[in-house]
């Protein structure tokens, strides 16, 4: 069911459950464990949204952007495909496989396109997209579609990455998309408990742009300024959910401004000034700089997030930890979730399980050899 989002709600707020894991050796596993894990926390959702992101979903197309789009109707699809055909050279396209499930009555259309930006020839197009970098091109493309084509929403646009999400409990969404059949080295999942909107397909988590995908439990009270900050850098926020700002902020701070992931985490959940005063001069200068430059990017309010990125997985909570986050480790796999149950329920005899401190990022990274194999030596992963 598609809900009209032009209802003047500045954003949607919700409580939620989050879960995810990564195998640092790049070993791919089926989505079963992820589905079981998120379903352990059924009470953290209310059936109005769930979703999964899987890294390593499309190894055969790993050099192409995998653009997942949901359509309200065929008209939106035709319009979008016509637009896409002028922008992308598409090597493969098709409907995303789904099966009928008892609990999901109505749903939009799901399509995936594998492609690369087309070599641009005519003047009009150059004017439209001045940036020549491919990543920038894809971000702008996704935003153009979200903004201009009614009933079409790009829900993921990374390489070798797929996002599957919708309205329902996680087990229903997993069944519908046949999540068990996908394999990935990193999975993140979300179980949603929206409070003030009926929820809509595009508003379910994960939120994804390029290789970033974010699941989020909490409410960003600084959303108003985060949004206005992003708008200065020409991000258009159309999905009406506060989580959207996190994926765009990551894209801005890390990809465009060249911050490391830890520096971005410092901008999102910085230490208090009183703590900063006690640090040594180097550290103090660095964090003061980040706080002053990126004050508008600070995520204030309760949150715990899992961030899938090119080459790893990060967990982060707000600086006074108003939302839970637990991390577990077994061998070369790192698990992160809202609750301990979501980890111990799917994996026995963990090596280690702990609750990270408020505002402390936990980052699990693919081993360098694995990164090189997956992304090629020239294709850089995110600097941690």
């Amino acid at each position: 069911m598609f809900i009209n989002v032009s209802n003047n709600l500045p954003r949607d707020i919700s409580g939620c459950g989050i879960s995810g894991f990564i195998n640092t050796n790049g070993r791919r596993s089926s989505g079963r464990a992820c589905v079981d894990s998120i379903c352990m926390m059924r009470d953290r959702g209310n059936g109005l949204g769930a979703g999964f992101a899987v890294y390593g979903a499309y190894p055969e197309f790993r050099n192409y952007y995998a653009i997942h789009i949901i359509y309200q109707d065929n008209k939106a699809r035709e319009e979008t495909e016509e637009y896409l055909s002028t922008k992308l050279s598409i090597v493969q396209r098709g409907g995303i496989p789904t099966k009928k499930t008892k609990n999901i009555q109505s749903r939009p259309l799901f399509f995936v396109y594998f492609g690369k930006p087309r070599a641009q020839s005519d003047v009009a197009e150059i004017d439209e997209f001045r940036e020549d970098q491919e990543d920038e091109f894809i971000v702008r493309l996704a935003m153009k579609i979200n903004e201009n084509i009614k009933g079409a929403y790009v829900i993921s646009s990374g390489k070798n990455l797929g996002v599957f999400k919708g309205i329902g409990f996680p087990e229903d969404i997993a069944e519908m998309f046949m999540i068990d059949d996908y394999k990935g080295y990193c999975w993140i999942a979300h179980n949603r408990y929206p409070t003030n909107t009926p929820g809509w397909w595009g508003g379910a988590h994960p939120f994804s742009v390029l290789d970033w995908s974010v699941v989020h439990n909490g409410e960003i009270s600084s959303y108003g300024i985060n949004k206005r900050y992003l708008e200065m850098f020409k991000y258009n926020l159309n999905l009406k959910t506060d989580t959207e700002v996190i994926s765009y902020l990551l894209d801005l701070l890390v990809r465009r401004h060249g911050l490391s992931l830890k520096e971005a985490a410092l901008a999102f959940a910085p230490p208090f000034w009183t703590q900063i005063e006690k640090m040594n001069t180097d550290q103090k200068n660095k964090i003061e700089k980040i706080r002053r430059i990126y004050g508008s990017a600070m995520l204030n309010g309760p949150f715990a997030i899992l961030v899938g990125f090119k080459g790893g997985l990060m967990g982060l909570s707000d600086r006074i930890k108003l939302r839970p986050l637990v991390v577990g480790q077994k061998g070369d796999t790192t698990y992160m979730a809202s609750e301990e149950s979501a980890i111990v329920g799917v994996v026995k005899e963990l090596d280690r399980i702990w609750s990270p401190n408020a505002g402390e990022p936990v980052i699990a990274k693919l081993k360098p050899a694995v990164s090189a194999r997956l992304f090629g030596k020239s294709n850089k992963t995110v600097r941690v």
């Binding site: 409580g15 409410e219 009270s221 708008e231 060249g258 009183t274 309010g301 600086r319 006074i320």
Partner: protein, 500 residues
């Protein structure tokens, strides 16, 4: 008494001073306290008389009367009721005709223009995000005023800035407009509160150089008291282009107030009117402003931020954008309700626009141009309480200047007589007898209390909203809702109506 009634110059008094004879103990406090010669004692009849004509409604005598025998009331409209020709207009015409000059007034615009602060309401958290208790959790108000780079550059130091423990500063009020003790009280209070005051355009007394770490020195069109040492003393420099109370004209300090000490601070002869020119005569356009900004930066070896202060006028957004691109580190915008020590009434009451709309327009424009984060914005002009301050910050200000609110702390009752130099409360006078009435030991404490309490109130409001740092509120207009505003007003303010 010098006074006698002249029918050809008659204006009905604005106030009625009533003294209850059965309560009056003839202590004569009201006589000695009144600096406007409104009260006198007749020894023969053992009676205190009042010249209603002279009463300015400052309530100094009321405060001093040990038996609460005195009440000062507004006099009802003395003329025939007329919906078009109110007493303000009739008296205004008569005053101009009698004296052949334009009336000068002090303090801010007192006409009943809409107050947008009162049409904006704040948000609070319920259920989905917890409110934060500032008594138990950290709550951050620290604010920096200065330029910020667009993004983090490795190994590059940040441009100079000033650090405020609370986003409230005291705006430009010159030594000259204010008494020595008033400046002393303000200086001590901002030092204790970890914030700044602005010297105004009258230079700085050498005895106030001790506030070096907490003073912003102003350079205005008259260049009064501007010299190398003065620039070096300041933590920041402010170029004053305009003032909210009197956009488009220069400063006025009547000669009556130019005492020996003032003449030294301003570097002008004693007793002369200090009228600064309307424009800076070296700034006729934006490129000239850039030269002055860099001249001041050169003079101080790029060690301190340069703020440019403008009055809120119609195309303030475009002007601010130009200033942001001219090397200024911060822009200070003064709304039309801002105070003054002396201004032609006609300008004070009719020129400029509300700070709420000006601030919103500037913040929006700088964001559209992608340069908002590179400069700081200071808003001023009628900030009456911490709620106004926080609304200003949510609309987009980094910090606010207060002026009138600080003077009220020192005793001011807004009688609008600053320009006469006869302030009965000792705040805006250079008369040694009167200026003793401000005791810096007590008044600095009061002013410090005000900073403290407002800061606590800011923290309470932020806590209720569920944010624990001021930068998450700055420009965060989703925490504001409008009531009783037109769609167009809401659009300019960038605020949703209550209920949406």
């Amino acid at each position: 008494m010098k006074w006698f009634k002249k029918v050809h110059h008659y204006l009905p008094p604005d106030f009625i001073l009533e003294r209850a004879d059965d309560l009056c103990i003839r202590c004569k406090a009201c006589v000695t306290q009144c600096s406007f010669d409104a009260n006198f004692y007749d020894q023969k009849r053992n009676f205190i008389y009042t010249l209603q004509q002279n009463c300015v409604g400052c309530n100094r005598c009321v405060a001093y009367c040990p038996t609460e025998a005195i009440v000062v009331k507004n006099r009802p409209n003395p003329f025939r009721e007329h919906s078009h020709w109110g007493a303000y207009y009739i008296s205004g015409i008569k005053r101009r005709a009698y004296y052949g000059g334009t009336p000068v007034k002090s303090m801010g615009n007192d006409r009943p223009f809409p107050i947008y602060w009162d049409k904006l309401l704040l948000n609070a958290s319920q259920v989905t995000n917890p409110s934060i208790d500032p008594l138990r959790e950290p709550m951050e108000l620290r604010t920096y005023i200065g330029r910020r780079p667009k993004y983090l550059k490795k190994g590059e130091a940040l441009p100079p800035s000033i650090m405020l423990q609370t986003p409230i500063m005291i705006g430009a009020m010159s030594y000259g407009a204010l008494s020595f003790n008033s400046v002393e009280s303000i200086g001590r209070a901002v030092t204790m509160a970890g914030t700044f005051f602005n010297s105004g355009e009258g230079g700085l007394s050498r005895d106030h150089y001790k506030f070096s770490k907490h003073v912003i020195v102003q350079v205005a069109s008259g260049r009064f008291g501007v010299h190398k040492e003065y620039l070096d003393i300041g933590s920041a420099i402010e170029i004053k282009i305009g003032q909210g109370a009197k956009p488009g004209i220069g400063g006025h300090l009547p000669g009556e107030k130019v005492s020996e000490s003032i003449s030294q601070a301003r570097m002008i002869p004693k007793g002369t009117d200090a009228l600064s020119p309307a424009p800076h005569h070296d700034i006729y356009s934006i490129e000239d402003l850039r030269q002055l900004i860099y001249a001041l930066k050169e003079a101080t070896r790029y060690s301190k931020p340069v703020i440019v202060k403008i009055a809120a006028v119609h195309n303030v957004a475009a002007i601010a954008s130009g200033i942001a691109r001219s090397g200024a580190d911060a822009i200070s915008i003064d709304g039309f309700k801002g105070g003054t020590g002396a201004a032609p009434e006609i300008i004070r009451n009719h020129v400029g626009i509300p700070i709420e709309l000006a601030l919103a327009a500037v913040d929006t424009r700088l964001r559209q141009e992608g340069i908002r984060n590179e400069v700081s914005i200071i808003a001023s002009g009628g900030i009456r309480g911490s709620a106004d301050a926080i609304k200003a910050i949510a609309l987009g200000a980094d910090a606010v200047y207060i002026g009138t609110a600080a003077l009220i702390t020192l005793g001011c009752t807004l009688c609008q007589q600053c320009h006469t130099g006869r302030c009965a409360w000792g705040i805006t006078t250079q008369d040694p007898f009167l200026s003793k009435r401000v005791n810096p030991d007590i008044m600095s404490e009061h002013l410090y209390n005000l900073f403290n309490v407002w800061s606590l109130e800011l923290k309470e409001i932020m806590g209720a909203m569920g944010v624990n740092s001021i930068e998450s509120l700055r420009g965060n207009r989703l925490h504001l809702r409008g009531v009783g505003l037109s769609d167009r007003d809401l659009e300019i303010l960038g605020v949703l109506p209550a209920g949406e």
